[in-house]
Symmetry: C2
Subunit: 526 residues, 2 copies
């Protein structure tokens, strides 16, 4: 049931991309150099696919061609792509695989799977690219489960060039969407870090953050209408540029994480590729000064496409910095008009905050790939990161990233508190870096990276302790438990404290109405 | 319980603003001249306040200081501000007034009213400025009702100048919000036609459309967090610049029209007043050519603050046109940087569609008031329109406005079909005009005005027939039943056909969870 090229059973990417021995040694050396802490030098091998032992399926699969209980399918649908997933898969621990994997080829088959699951009392975990980093696709603590892999729904069904919109099936992967749209000179322009392996449906269900650092930051902002299958029928909104007819049906599906319905397709706003593009990187003497510039630019109404600030350590780790300066990546783009004047004005604002820059890069097209310079270096590092991380279990490194958003009035204290809490959880052995990934007039979305030497065999406990400390600090200091990674199962305890209780009751009521048997992704949100 | 200045019991505005005899004659003459149809010349008088007969209250009011059964309060809380409301009030028909009017001074009193209402089985109709044009505040076909007037909650509680946000109570009127914010050099920049008499809470509950013709068109886009009181506790989201933590709690309250909770306050994004402002009006040989320009500008990413296209008749009626050309009002504004180059580029796009213009106006500040020229004339007419309309029942004119949104691929056929259906419903006696009120990359929001000679005494039937014909055409041609006027009771039949059934079930489930007795604004949405 998989294509010619098989996904790795444990690592990010395909089986033929698992890191080789020389790469592991090189990564260990690099990480020692940049983090300043020593790894223990041991190189551990992953448990090979054929050595993985799986519990037997707890349910007979339905007599549907799209369903299987084949071990490789169950193994590769057990986890998402969090570090805690990577480590468990690396060690061959697949304790809670789905009992059945369904890979429908059309919506009718999706309905058949739901029908069977409801009758058989089987939980349905919708699965797009399987890139959740929050336990969103993991059948943890559930009874019998079918993992509903949507990647068979992988077509663009219609393109409306006049309205600049495309009807895209939910299981289509990022690169495939862009390849097809490029044939019409269009692009969705949504590049999450998971872009290569994640799907439109996954982005919608989790409110993914994408390419734009300001304006249209979430996939939410590019939706025209969504179609989902629920146990009580098809939930499809009218295709509209905007509406004020009551509560938005689309906004109730966005972020529903598979708990209200299985998204099968959406009309998405697309755009021509940007012919006008200018970018540069600006250095600041400190992260704080850089953040002042981000605030000024975010409140200017200039709407840069990129406006991401790396703290000195992150600039050093990823973008050729030396640890002495913060680095702001700044870019403007348009398919209609030159944007040089906008960059000039943003740089004026940056200068007032101590920013300095050298070269301004011009270039149209501007796909997901880097454009050279430090900004290009960061972009390449950003897209390579999941591959780099494949080496961590082998070389004995624990990694965690977490992200949030907070208003500017709280920002400085928030940053200090969260960095402090994460550092405390490391007990001295490790580093914590921060970048501002998205910027708003009223706040910013900081993204934190934690790297620490692993206590071999206890990585999950290490990771959980870091996650707990960071999440507590985020909540206490006024942030959101997630800006664009979703809630999943990992964020659930803090999400419950964050959301207002009557809203939680309303959401439970909404779910009970469309999913009375409670089969849809139990454990997330509700 | 009212202030020094009393609202008129039938007309838009205050009692001292009801139209005088000479104004009525002048308006009749004007409307005859511009519409081309003859009115019957009779000037009818409104039924005076003291001649209005009210049914007795069907319920004892609670022993709360904020509650009254006083006739003036009940009369002025019977209707919104639709033409069909105006006519009924003018004729002294107040058949379904609320039994009790509550005007709490704080949130605690709101809770007390809800508690009483739930126990007593009394429906609660939240009432802000009472400017609904869709029957949203009318206790139609209900048992005992309390109209919950929120205008006692009229303060700005906090201003966060760094994040540019303000915590505003729901009952505050538009001008009061801006007056208070102006003291800090800030503005909410939200100017619906009802601005003078409508409230923040009403805007949020109905997803009001405001100042900006592109980007941030709805009040939704300026919300940081909302606080509402429900029969099952306080629903308050965390104050955040953005979040991806599950389904958005705010987006479930936006457009809930009082059916899920009573909005008591919100943190709103505010901004400095725009120091840079350029505007002009562009003429086009036809509405169709003008619409091509709106499409091009909306897809350009230039984000004009104003980009509203009047068809030749509407330009003639409101903005000094002569009926031979369509008129585009175009403006750009910024508090940070000059916007002349943006206007220049938009005009280049307009020229390609046959657009021509003369004067470009520069001017900072840019409050809600006109800035001279045809654009200023339109803006003044826009804000005066509700007052002008006060004369219609007297002089024998029926008026209806309806608005929608549709994608560009359907736009031309849609416009023809809807105009045609509305004209057919007039049986030859009347005019139908259209403007594009909001513009999106993937579509536009047309706003239609219907004017016709009244069949005296049968205006409601006339109005209902026009509404029915227009609504059917809108739905059939792929539009939304409302872009920013809300659903209320008037749009309910078409709204039910528009929304997906599983979503309707989810909304009912959500409501049942927070409002198990079903007391909150029964008849709207659910």
């Amino acid at each position: 049931m998989d294509g010619v090229r098989r996904r790795s059973h444990w690592a990010w990417g395909y089986a033929d991309e698992e890191p080789a021995a020389d790469e592991l040694a090189a990564t260990a050396e690099l990480m020692t150099a940049v983090t300043g802490f020593r790894l223990d030098g041991e190189i551990e091998e992953p448990v090979p696919l054929d050595a993985v032992e799986l519990p037997a399926p707890r349910v007979e699969p339905p007599p549907l061609e799209c369903c299987t209980t084949e071990p490789y399918a169950r193994i590769t649908h057990t986890y998402g792509q969090a570090y805690r997933d990577l480590v468990r898969a690396f060690r061959g621990r697949f304790d809670s695989p789905p009992d059945v994997v369904a890979r429908p080829r059309d919506e009718r088959e999706v309905m058949h799977v739901l029908e069977w699951a409801e009758n058989a009392g089987v939980a349905v975990v919708p699965y797009g690219g399987g890139t959740s980093v929050v336990g969103g696709v993991e059948p943890r603590d559930l009874g019998p489960v079918v993992s509903l892999d949507l990647t068979g729904l992988d077509q663009i069904l219609e393109i409306d060039p006049l309205s600049r919109a495309a009807r895209i099936q939910a299981g289509m992967l990022g690169p495939a969407i862009d390849r097809r749209l490029a044939e019409e000179g269009l692009t969705l322009r949504h590049y999450p870090q998971s872009y290569e392996l994640s799907t439109l449906g996954g982005w919608l269900a989790t409110r993914a953050g994408g390419h734009f650092a300001t304006l249209g930051t979430h996939i939410d902002d590019h939706v025209e209408s969504i179609r989902a299958v629920t146990p009580r029928g098809v939930w499809e909104s009218r295709r509209l540029p905007a509406s004020g007819a009551g509560v938005s049906p689309d906004r109730m599906l966005l972020g529903s994480e598979g708990a209200l319905g299985v998204i099968t397709e959406a009309w998405m706003r697309v755009r021509p590729r940007p012919d006008f593009r200018v970018s540069t990187t600006v250095t600041f003497p400190s992260f704080e000064r850089g953040a002042e510039a981000v605030l000024a630019i975010a409140q200017s109404g200039l709407h840069p496409s990129n406006c991401r600030l790396l703290d000195p350590t992150e600039a050093w780790l990823t973008s050729g910095g030396d640890g002495t300066y913060a680095l702001l990546m700044l870019a403007f783009e348009s398919a209609d008009h030159p944007v040089d004047a906008l960059l000039d004005r943003a740089l004026e604002l940056a200068r007032l905050c101590g920013g300095a820059w050298e070269e301004i890069q011009n270039g149209g097209g501007g796909g997901e790939h880097g454009t050279g310079g430090q900004g290009g270096a960061w972009r390449n590092a950003f897209l390579r990161m999941p591959y780099l991380r494949n080496a961590y279990p082998s070389i004995g490194l624990v990694a965690e990233t977490f992200e949030t958003a907070v208003t500017w009035d709280r920002f400085a204290a928030f940053h200090t508190a969260v960095i402090g809490a994460a550092r405390d959880a490391l007990h001295g052995g490790g580093i914590v870096t921060c970048r501002l990934a998205f910027a708003y007039p009223d706040g910013a979305a900081p993204y934190f990276t934690v790297l620490a030497p692993a206590r071999r065999g206890a990585e999950i406990e290490q990771w959980d302790a870091i996650k707990r400390a960071a999440s507590e600090a985020i909540l206490a200091a006024g942030g959101t438990i997630t800006h664009h990674h979703a809630v999943g199962r990992d964020h659930r305890p803090w999400y419950e404290r964050q959301r207002p209780e009557p809203f939680a009751a309303a959401l439970r009521g909404a779910k009970a109405a469309v999913d009375p048997a409670g089969i849809l992704n139990p454990g997330v949100l509700v």
